[in-house]
Amino acid sequence: MAENRALALLRRVWPVVSLALILLVIAIAIRLTDDIVLEDVYIEALAKLVVVVGLYIFVGNTGVISFGHPAFMAMGAYATAWLTIPPNIKRISLPNIWPALAEAHVAVIPANLLAGLPAAAFAFLVGLGISRLAGIAAGISTFGLLMIVRVVYSNWEDWTLGFSTIMGQPQYLTIWNSFGWGIFAMVVAFAYQESRLGLAARASREDEVAARATGVNIARQRLIAFVLSAYLVGVGGAIYVHFIGTVSIETFYVDMVVITLVMLIVGGINSLAGAVLGTIAITALIEMLRNLEGGFEIGATVIAAPRGTQEIGLAIVMLLILIYRPKGITGGREITWPFAPRRR
């Protein structure tokens, strides 16, 4: 009996366990090759994974597009900078922030978890309005959010150094703790999508009228998804700067919008597996293109693709997927337990 229950539980959480196993296998494979460059690629991919999974929580579950999530990344990124940079460095680089923050020196993991909160709070405030929108109006107003955060942060010199970069974040990420952050993000997203709230949000995505008729408050569900999503994206932005080691507002602009959306869309917007596999697939593609830009040898001649090949390649892949496989490589499905007979 107990065995059965364990098996049933495993089957239930298999969509997230399977993804964790895939990430684990990749991590082990990279450790075995002992290639430092690949390790960095993995860590960056996992930081992006937290962001893409966070983006998925809103876009995937509610079906409402957002171009504004890099704004939440930026908020998380600056928040972790204020919390984790050692006070003696902050006294020099950021002399005018609140004294309490200037003296703060929070450990990295709690700091990263806290860093999502400003993003979540901001998302709640603006979400009160934005959650009433869908389609193009949502796309444009989330883009507006991105612009607002960009304008404010790039002019808030005392706290952000404007367009300059803030340095001194501890680069604490390893292949294993970044794997841990990936698990954290996937568990949050999976728990949400399996919950009553997640189901209600998905119902509103599939059919607004039917969802409303069965008692789903669509605006409220979108707001909940938006806040949770902003929190996770904020945490992801924080982790991302611990990978780079510096914060600059330029990091969180159109390029970031495009790359996170490409990852989600190529994987498949409507499933967690899509978010995760899309991140892996696009990371692999970018690495290939980056190697092409670096040049390779055929016989005695070195052939190098021009700078920008990466971005052009990404744009083409995104268009091809939109045209030929609009539901992404996963087709919007999760990875299901492979050994049991299908339930009728």
Binding site: G308, E311, I323
Partner: protein
Amino acid sequence: MTVIVQHVSDAISLGALYALLALGIGLIYGIMRLVNFAHGDFIMIGGYTIFLTAEQNVVVTIAATILMMVALALVSERIVFRPLRRASPATLLVGSVALSYFLSNLILVVFLGRPKTMSFGRDLVEHFEFLGVRIPQINFVVIVVTLVLMAGLALFLRKTTIGTNMRAAAEDFVMAQLLGVRANVVIAMAFAVGGFLAAIVTLLYFSQTGSVSPRSGLPLVIIAFVATVVGGLGSLVGAALGGFVVGVISVVLQIILPVDLRPFRDAFVFALVILMLVFRPGGLLIVQAMRERV
């Protein structure tokens, strides 16, 4: 008094330019529900066309820019937007973002990132006397060209068969098809006219700024988005009005905002847009055909 007249002429001329910009996007949105994020990159590529033909006669430059941009609009319709025609508006928007990213990076590869300067239309920046006030000639050119184009567009949409077809398609695409309107022709025409309007904006815009870079398109498309949303998606009059309002407001904010707050101007503009979308999602002019039917 002199200062006020100058500000007013600046505001009207910027408003007119933005109105043309928004019309290009609004025209295509009305027919196929595509908010074309790549519109700004069309204009950027037009800027490079001016740069490349700078040695030539002005007429050659103008003709080359118009040809280039109409061709570009038609090609992107055929390759990118026709296969996506049945997709949702949000997917179309994402597709146009991808196209925009493609075009700006393609130009980056070819011309590299440094801005290119050009002297096209430099003479127009000079001032001339009007009722005792000195006003840049370009302001007059922009206003006159805009008025002529709008009148032309209105005549085209009302008096020609293809124009009538386009209005019918914007009203109810499926019904128009059933009545014999050819979808491909109408949409291609909308892109061609959109490209033409973009070309005119290009010529007017770059003769004022005098330089172009791969990122030149972005601020323009953002303004056009804001304008179409403010005016009301789907209404051409709304788009033109929205563009005009946005142009005038940004000149006014630039003048009246205290110096400390000026850098935050765009944040105020976008906050207004979001508020507008929340409280009046249809824009200033609400179009019946845009109501979602259940």
